[in-house]
């Protein structure tokens, strides 16, 4: 038994789905989880989540941004801030966002939390562009 629960505040992506393996963008980079993994709690960055439902050969991919990932003996819980399927991504918009954020980050006299906000947005836009290449 290796169950994946993948939720965001605004929707439930999957709940208690039996999977063979899950790949998440964890704190120290891409992390592939297989049944029997040691208990772990990690933060998530921005990136792709891939999971393969049991008995299927195709992987399902979606874009995730920030959140938490918990591995316990029964499975994986992913608590993400946002989750987008690859079809939802608007590449043009992401490219615009990335350009705008890059421009904003060069402005003088930014407050620390502003810088953080822009960097997060930039990161997300870049991840979206990267993800759209995979389609």
């Amino acid at each position: 038994m290796f169950l994946l629960t993948y939720v965001t505040p605004e929707k439930k992506v999957v709940s208690d789905l039996e999977v063979d393996q899950v790949t998440v963008p964890a704190y120290r980079g891409q992390l592939t989880l297989l049944p029997g993994h040691a208990p772990l709690i990690s933060t998530l960055g921005v990136g792709l989540i891939k999971y393969r439902p049991k008995g299927k050969s195709e992987e399902i991919t979606s874009l995730v941004s920030w959140g938490y990932c918990e591995v316990n003996p029964t499975g994986v819980n992913i608590l993400a801030e946002t989750a987008e399927s690859l079809e939802e991504i608007d590449r043009e918009r992401a490219e615009n966002d990335a350009r705008m954020m890059q421009k904003k980050l060069t402005e003088p006299n930014l407050e620390p939390n502003q810088i953080m906000k822009y960097q997060r947005k930039l990161q997300k836009a870049l991840a979206r562009i990267e993800a759209s290449k995979n389609v």
């Binding site: 605004e10 208990p39 918990e70 003996p73 819980n77 608590l79």
Partner: protein, 294 residues
């Protein structure tokens, strides 16, 4: 007795009012569905999040200011959730009365009670009673989004740590069903893990001591708690909005029914009056004819 023309006008105006109330009912029903969907979809997230927090806190025995549970709180912050607009039955007056009562009770016992009012209706209520609030937030219903809730939660958390409050409580209408709301007073900060079901079921034994943390648990717990409070605030807001639409829906349903009843009785009076005037005219004509004959 009113004349025929007056009654006709009256029937017309009641009819148009009925149309408005019926439309409002439809709108509320649609909004209610959306708000209900919000609540249902965030429940699994909220549940899992609390599980993770409990896992960390219980396995590492971490103490955090937002996790400790002081029994008697002396300084409290009350957050009252009402709506911006009326026409929703007893929704706002009930919550205001309840909040006022609690406020007065607490003011007697506690050292300090402050109010944060969300929604124009409670702001007006407390202003009329010369009760000062710390802060008021309007125009909520339009933008109940997670981002917005997260901002409010952030502010509350700052207030909590800077204002030296012992607890933060939310007073809001909990959504029971489309026709029923229940007023609840719920403690949001700090969370009391001993009251959650996890410690009862012994769920903390799920993990051995060798739980891997990336990065450090202390650092992560902070973020998790922030997330948790944002979710709690979001849930309360969604509940309140759903309850508001439910209350408005049933209020408008009643209004539509009352209007139908009124139209019926006015039409009856109108017909009676019309017949009476026809009869009078006939009598006049016949008696005139009789007089001429004679």
């Amino acid at each position: 007795m009113a004349n025929l023309k007056d009654i006709r006008l009256r029937i017309g105006s009641v009819k148009s009012t009925q149309q408005i109330t019926r439309a409002m009912k439809m709108v509320s029903a649609a909004k209610l569905r959306k708000a209900q969907h919000n609540i249902v979809s965030l429940r699994p997230y909220a549940k899992k999040l609390l599980e993770v927090i409990a896992d960390i806190a219980l396995s590492k025995h971490i103490h955090h200011p937002l996790l400790s549970s002081s029994v008697d709180s002396k300084k409290e912050l009350l957050v009252v959730l009402s709506s911006d607009r009326g026409l929703c039955g007893g929704f706002n007056s009930n919550i205001n009365k309840f909040a006022h009562k609690i406020y007065l009770e607490k003011a007697n016992v506690s050292d300090k009670v402050d109010l944060i009012l969300i929604g124009r209706k409670s702001f007006d209520y407390f202003k009329a009673r010369k009760v000062n609030c710390k802060e008021a937030v309007f125009n909520l219903a339009k933008e109940v989004s997670y981002d917005y809730a997260a901002k409010i939660a952030q502010r509350l958390m700052e207030d909590f740590s800077e204002g030296g409050y012992d607890s933060v409580k939310f007073i809001y209408n909990e959504f029971k069903s489309a026709i029923a709301q229940e007023i609840v007073c719920e403690q949001i900060f700090p969370i009391d893990l001993s009251r959650t079901s996890f410690s009862e079921t012994g769920n903390n034994s799920r993990f051995s001591e060798e739980l891997i943390f990336e990065p450090q648990p202390e650092f992560m717990l902070d973020g998790l708690l922030k997330q948790h409070f944002a979710i709690q605030v979001y849930r309360c807001l969604s509940e309140s909005v759903a309850a508001e639409h439910g209350a408005r829906m049933s209020a408008m349903e009643n209004a539509t029914k009352n209007a139908a009843e009124m139209i019926r009785s006015l039409t009856l009076t109108y017909n009676k009056l019309r017949q009476a005037s026809i009869t009078t005219e006939l009598i006049e004509i016949t008696s005139g004819a009789e007089a001429l004959k004679g």
